[in-house]
Structure formats: C-alpha cells, structure tokens
Amino acid sequence: MRELHVAVTGLSATDNPAPGVAVIRSLREQPGWCGRIIGLAYDAYEPGIFDPRLVDAVYLLPYPSAGKEAVLQRLDEILQRERIDVLLPTLDSELSSFSQAAQQLAARGIRTFLPTEDQLKRRSKANLAALAKDLGLRVPESAAVTDFRSAEKAADEIGFPLMVKGLFYEAYRAANSSELFAAMQALVTRWGYPVILQEYVPGEEYNLAGLGDGKGGIVSAVCMKKVSVTDRGKGWAGVSIVNEQLTDVARAFVKALQWRGGFELEMLMSDKEELNLIEINPRFPAWIYLTTACGINLPYAYCLLASGEQPRMPQEYEPGILFVRCTTDLIARVKQIEDLLTRREIHY
C-alpha cells in the first residue's frame, strides 16, 4: 500500500459526535495502512484533537462562514508544513465549500471525492420530497419555514406532534405550538433559517451508510438499527442488519443522482409498513466505524476513489455486529491548548 496523507475534519467526539474520529479509526485499521492523518478542527476543544493514537497533527481552520477563500488561505499555510493527498470532510456545514473548491484543492495536490453542488441541493431537506417521489418513496409531509407565522400555518397543515429540524443539524419533537416555538428559537439561534417542519411518523428507524462511485454505482453499504439512543435521540449503540429493501433504496438513490462520495440514509418503517425516507446526509455518519468492523472500510474506499482508483469492497457482511459508544477521558496538557490557541496547530 502506498503512503497516504489524509486530512480529516469533524473531530468533535461529544455526546453528539461528528464522524471524524470514526473515519480516522477506519483508516488506521486498514490492513497495511501506511500514512499520516492530519486533523482539521474548528474548535480547540474538539476531543479528537487530543488522542495521539488518532492524529499525527491537528490544524485549526476558520469556520465555513468565513468563506471559501479564508479556508483555502489557511490550507495554503498548512501545506507549508504538511503534504495532504486526500481531504475527507465529514461535516454538513463545510461540504458545499469544499465541493465548490474541488478544483482549487486539486491544484494544490489535495484530492477529494465529493458530491457536486447540484447533488447536494437535490438531497437537501428542502428538496427531499421531490427526490423521494422520483425514487418512488414516501417522505413524511414537510415544510421549510422562514418565520414563526409560516411555521404556525405549516404546523396546522401537518398536525402535531411533528419534528422541527435545523437545516444542517438538530431535531426536536414538538407536541404543541409552545414546543414548536421553543424548538424554532433554539434552531434559528444556532443555524438560522430555514427550519424544516416534518410530520412525525411512528415506526422503526433504520440507517444505511454507503459510498457512491460517481457513476451511478454503489461501492458498498451497511445497514444499521439503533438499539440504544441518548435523550437527544442520537444512537449510542447499533447493530448491523441485512435488509434488501433498504439497500435497494440506496442503490436507487446513488443511481438517480450519480452520487459521489459518502452518504447516510435515514429511513423509517411506519407502523403501517410503509418505508419513509427521512433524511439523506451527504457524508459518512458518526457510526461509520461499524462498516469497517463489518469488513467494509468505506472511509478507506473513499480515499481510493479520491486517488483515482477503483476500490473493491465486499458486498456482503455479517448481521449482528454491534457498535457501543463509550465515553472516556483523554489527558492533555495546557501547553497543547496554548499551541492550539496561539499557533493554531498541534503535533504529536
């Protein structure tokens, strides 16, 4: 295996973890792995920064809201110190910027395999219903709202209880108008508008992580059922399952959009036995390490695609493999915080 220097974002491993740590574990555990992992973080206290088993170095980036040029300028500074062969972004909020900058990144020797801007839009929460219709799937009734008045009107049409979702992150269940407004307040403060109101459909949730090859094909995919969730509804344990109906949805999605890169499908089998498409995340999920545990290392396959190679991944895997999240304390020194806050980098 040739040496790969891979930059990974999303090192926040809190009770609502970003995928970066799981991606890095997958890369490090690829048999024959030979390379360097460069963490790219937005905050000095992202936990993944402090595990020298994961990262060889970490550099802080400006937030995506600073604009593409600010991020590229920072990457140019980093490239004075590092070689980056592949960039694997894991956060919704940065994907559009990196996607738009793909050519500029490539000119700097940094390869990516990301969805196009059009692909990102087609699977966005605001456009999900239209995509689901093309795929022959049901989507819970949804409305994108930009103020409280239109939220009230949409809630009357959809009916309570309903889900209140931010454009990128977070979701709350609202049983009445008071809870709706409280949820909107929280979401708008953090993520702005629009806010998505979605019909609450009782049933069983299922998740699928996959990788599209950009030509309408799927490199591979793993389905998962959460078996334990936090009080925020985040999966804290999950089990691999084998379900052709879910995998067929993934194949149809990848084919319809010619999807490039990692993705996660969130689906729900209603009590009426209708399969609903809840959300399509345009990147690997935080539980992506389970795919590696199932023998299908999707993060490594992404790196191969970005490098212009065709990955060969198993299509079959064993059901009944669980991930169980575990909280642990990492030990750091204040000198590391000093380095991050003053020099904006840390090396191991």
Partner: protein, 85 residues
C-alpha cells in the same frame, strides 16, 4: 420490509431462547415451549399439529393447548414474525 414468512426463516434462534432478526435488528427471548413452537413453525407445521404437540408434551387438554398456542401465535403476529394462522 421482508414479508413475515421470509422473516421467520431468517431468524437466528439459539437454544437459550434468544432470537435475533438480522433484517430488522430486533431481539426477543422465549422459553423452552416457545422454542418448540418456533421450531415447528419453521418446519411449516399446521396449527393442529402444533396444538397436538403441546397437548402431548405437557399433558394438557386440547382446549387449553389451543388457547395457549393461539395466544403465542397472536403475539408473534403482533411482532410481524408470522403471517396468517
């Protein structure tokens, strides 16, 4: 989702009474009697055959056996592990 008969065939059932559905991730536990019934369902035995087995195995009257088996199967239907019956 996979139809219930297909689900029954793919269920992983261990001698301890632990049942895992690999297509949904659901898990169940059952006792020895339940295990016997699952085994017979997988062998596609009829309700009559299953009831007769319970009658003989536990030396109970037919109506008690039929009641208990029907109740158990009703539970399986609720969990969508079987269809019909």
């Amino acid at each position: 989702m996979a139809d219930a008969n297909r689900r029954l065939k793919t269920l992983a059932i261990s001698d301890s009474g632990f049942i895992f559905d690999p297509s949904t991730g659901q898990t169940f536990t059952t006792n020895e009697t339940g295990l016997d019934i699952f085994r017979m369902l997988k062998e596609e035995k009829s309700l009559k055959e299953i009831t007769l087995f319970i009658e003989n195995q536990y030396d109970v009257d037919e109506d008690i056996a039929l009641r208990d088996v029907t109740q158990f199967l009703s539970q399986l239907k609720t969990y969508r592990l079987i269809d019909g019956f």
